[in-house]
């Protein structure tokens, strides 16, 4: 008996499943071959350990789920060659995909698209309107001065939004007189800002209007900050 044949049968020897003839032949080889003997010993010790610790391992918490996971892994591995096809871009896959639609499905899809587009347009228009209410009404032409003003206003607007948010949160605690005062004064400052913006719209290089606009924006910011404490 050679080593290869021996190592094939050594498992059955450990299990005691060999015929008496094969067992004696294998035993003879094991007495002569140190390598095969070590394999038999290793296997024997593993089996003995398993037998002596039988029932001590903890069962998986959900056996069915475990098997399902194993199955998924196996199936994924089986499918891998299919996904490992030459890499195709999302767009080319999307474009090469074929669609089969019945007439009612087609009509429903068209109706859904019309609905989505109209809803999206409505939302965008509303947002645009709200933005116009918060930001100054006047628009500025394209120039270095106008860009500078626009940048400054954008920076200021972020700070104002923050303080305005705090003011709105505290406003419920104020009396009506204080609320009216605040609204009147914000309106006065907004008027000033809009007047300066209109002036800059007419003359983008009007340094006086630019300086006054900055001062008015600073004043508005200071007022929001002061009232946010109330």
């Amino acid at each position: 008996m050679n080593c290869e044949k021996c190592q094939e049968l050594v498992g059955e020897l450990v299990d005691g499943a060999l015929s008496p003839e094969d067992e004696s032949t294998l035993t003879l080889h094991l007495e002569e071959c140190l390598a095969c003997s070590e394999v038999r010993n290793d296997l024997q010790s593993i089996v003995s350990f398993c037998q002596s610790h039988r029932g001590e391992y903890s069962a998986p918490p959900n056996e069915t789920a475990l098997w399902l996971r194993i199955r998924n892994v196996i199936e994924t591995e089986v499918q891998l060659p299919a996904t490992a096809l030459p890499a195709q871009g999302f767009w080319s896959r999307w474009m090469s995909r074929s669609w089969e639609l019945s007439i009612p499905q087609l009509a429903a899809s068209a109706a859904a698209m019309v609905l989505i587009v109209s809803l999206g347009t409505t939302v965008l228009l509303r947002r645009w309107d709200n933005g116009a209410g918060k930001a100054p009404v006047a628009t500025l032409p394209n120039s270095d001065a106008a860009t500078r003003v626009r940048d400054r206003m954008r920076e200021q607007q972020q700070a104002m939004d923050y303080w305005n948010h705090r003011v709105e949160a505290n406003k419920v605690r104020w009396n009506q007189q204080m609320r009216d005062t605040f609204d009147r004064n914000v309106k006065a400052l907004d008027e000033t800002v809009n007047e300066r913006l209109n002036e800059l719209n007419r003359n983008p290089h009007d340094e006086f209007s630019e300086a006054m606009l900055n001062a008015a924006l600073n004043d508005k910011l200071a007022m929001l900050r002061d009232f946010s404490d109330l």
Partner: protein
Amino acid sequence: MSIRLLSPIRFSVAQIFSALVVLAVLCSCASPTAHAQRSVSKRFPAGKNVRVELKNISGTITVESWNRNEIKITASLEAPTANVTPKLMGECVSIDVMGDNRGRGDVGDVNFKIQLPQDSSVDIETRRGNITVSNIRGGLVRAHITSEGDITLSGISASQVLAQNTIGDIFFDGDFSRGGTYQFQSTKGNISVRIPSDSAFRLVAQAPTKKIALNEFWNNGFKNLGDGRKFVGDVGDGRSSVMVTTFQGSITFLRR
């Protein structure tokens, strides 16, 4: 008895008038505002360079000088729950209505009357309400109204004066000290400055409305910038610095 109840009762005019008067008195006594008004008064000894700092929320503030060497603070509180606690810290008397009433909700108007020696400095800020300061000759007079209220500063001779509001007029009547700085700013209000004819200062006056009247303080050395919306120039040889700005109102210089 039943006959008396059913029969008409005759009242004289005097009786009816008396009854109405009694009723009116009772009603006014029972009205919540009459009960709500509460007054707090406190006195502090005044040192040489005394300073009063007041941070109010709403109400009128009147500051005036007197000949005593002490500070008297009288506060009239609209809401009985409001708290006003003036504190003396070194040479400074501090009143912080905002801080004293944090978490108490709406405390209504608190009207102040402050009497102090004329050499005192005054630093006042409030969210709304008129400020009047008269006859102060200390280092600083500052009156800041975040929103609306008139500012009246009369008989002022301080080296630094700052007055600012959003809606409301500003009136200054006083002197510009040599080397002093004076700033007056309103968003929607008229600013009037009344000074002696021999005043000397460097002026920057700005009003987008172009309503700037320098009257007899005008001279040819003034630069007209921004097409009549801004004037910069010197009056006399004084080195005090004066800046006057109104966004939607007028600027007027008057001779005292």
